[in-house]
C-alpha cells in the first residue's frame, strides 16, 4: 500500500492528524509523522522527513502531506537525501494537510496507486465547509 507521511511544523499537529486519518485506514497502512524540530520545537527538519519517507515506503511509494510553506522547502530538501531508487516513488501532495491526509489514507487503504492517492488527496483543495 502507498505510505503516507505527514509533515508539519508541529509534532502535536502531525500526530493529531495521524490519529484522525488512522480511523479511516486498513491494517498495514503506513502513516508516518515528521513534525517539529529535533528538540521538539515548532519547525521542520529535512533529515527527520527523509527518515519518515524511507520508513513509509513498502515498495508502492509515498505520498507526503505538508502544512505551511517551509514544510515544502524541507521536504524538497529531504528528497535530495533519498536513495535514487526511492525517489521516483515519492510525491509531495498539494493539499490542505489534514483533509488531504484523510483522503490520501482512504485511497491508499483501498489499494490505490500513488498517482491515484495523490489525485484524491489534492481534491481536498476543493472541499467547501459552507
Amino acid at each position: 500500500m502507498v505510505g503516507v507521511v505527514i509533515v508539519s511544523h508541529s509534532a502535536k499537529a502531525a500526530e493529531g492528524i495521524r490519529e484522525i486519518a488512522a480511523q479511516m485506514s486498513q491494517a498495514g497502512q503506513k502513516i508516518l509523522v515528521a513534525g517539529g524540530t529535533q528538540d521538539g520545537g515548532i519547525g521542520t527538519d529535512a533529515m527527520k522527513i527523509a527518515e519518515a519517507i524511507r520508513e513509509a515506503d513498502d515498495g508502492d511509494g509515498v505520498a507526503v502531506m505538508v502544512d505551511l510553506g517551509s514544510a515544502i522547502f524541507s521536504t524538497e530538501t529531504a528528497l535530495e537525501f533519498l536513495e535514487e531508487a526511492l525517489l521516483p516513488r515519492v510525491q509531495i501532495v498539494d493539499a490542505p494537510v489534514l483533509e488531504g491526509t484523510v483522503s490520501a489514507v482512504v485511497q491508499a487503504s483501498l489499494g490505490g496507486k500513488l498517482d491515484e492517492v495523490v489525485a484524491s488527496a489534492e481534491e481536498a483543495r476543493d472541499l467547501r465547509k459552507k
Binding site: G43, T44, D45, M47, K48, S70, F73, S74, T77
Partner: protein, 213 residues
C-alpha cells in the same frame, strides 16, 4: 586554508548569535518572530560541528557540514534555504584547499541559484535574495576588475545592505510576511538582514586575517 574557512564560519555564527534579538524583532514585525532564535540555534550547532573538523578537511566538506547542520537545526524556512545555499557552495568548492576570486564568485553564485530553486523566489520579492543578488553582482564586478578580495567583499557588503534596505519598499508575497500584505511595507526582510550579517562577518574575518583594519 580549510582552517581559515572554519574560522570564517565560526565568525559568521558568532555574528548571527550576537544579532539574535535584532533578527527576532524584524521577524516579529512581519513574520512569526523566530528568525533570530532559529538562526542562532542553527549557527550555535554549526560552530559546535565545524569545531570538531580537522584542519585538513577540504572546503567542500566543511561547507557540507554547515549545510546539514543548518538543515536539521534551524527549523524555519532559513534552514532549508541557507542549508541548500551552503550545499550548492560545497559542491562548487569540492576538493579545494584554497579559494581564489573566481572560485568565490562561483560558490556564491551556486549558493544563490540554490536558494532560488529551493524557495522559488526571484529578486524583488522581499527575500534574502534582495541582499544576495546585488552582493553577487558587486562582488563579481569587483573581482573581474582585478580588485582585491577585501575590496570586493566590501563592495558586496555595501550592495547587500542597500538591497536589504530596499526590501522596506516591497510588499511581501513570500513567506509568513505575505499574510500581512501591505502592512509589511516599511519593514526590512529578516532574511535579507541575516544575509548581510553573514557577508559582513566573512568580510571582517578576512580583513583581520590580512592585518588591516
Amino acid at each position: 586554508m580549510s582552517k581559515q574557512a572554519i574560522e570564517a564560519i565560526v565568525a559568521m555564527g558568532e555574528a548571527v548569535i550576537q544579532n539574535k534579538e535584532l533578527l527576532t524583532d524584524l521577524d516579529a514585525a512581519i513574520g512569526d518572530a523566530d528568525h533570530g532564535i532559529n538562526m542562532a540555534r542553527g549557527f550555535a550547532a554549526v560552530i559546535d560541528k565545524v569545531g570538531g573538523l580537522s584542519p585538513e578537511t577540504d572546503i567542500g566538506t566543511v561547507l557540507k557540514t554547515v549545510a546539514m547542520t543548518l538543515i536539521s537545526t534551524v527549523g524555519g524556512a532559513s534552514g532549508p534555504l541557507y542549508g541548500t545555499a551552503f550545499l550548492r557552495a560545497a559542491t562548487a568548492g569540492q576538493g579545494k584547499q584554497t579559494i581564489d576570486g573566481a572560485s568565490a564568485v562561483a560558490m556564491l553564485k551556486a549558493a544563490i541559484d540554490g536558494i532560488q530553486s529551493r524557495g522559488k523566489a526571484v529578486q524583488g520579492e522581499k527575500t534574502m535574495l534582495d541582499a544576495l543578488e546585488p552582493a553577487l553582482a558587486a562582488f563579481e564586478k569587483s573581482v573581474t576588475a582585478g580588485k582585491s578580495l577585501i575590496e570586493s567583499l566590501d563592495q558586496a557588503c555595501l550592495a547587500a545592505k542597500a538591497g536589504a534596505e530596499s526590501t522596506k519598499t516591497i510588499v511581501a508575497t513570500k513567506g509568513r510576511a505575505r499574510y500581512l500584505g501591505e502592512r509589511s511595507l516599511g519593514h526590512e526582510d529578516p532574511g535579507a538582514v541575516s544575509s548581510c550579517i553573514l557577508l559582513q562577518a566573512v568580510t571582517d574575518y578576512c580583513r583581520k586575517q590580512q592585518g588591516t583594519v
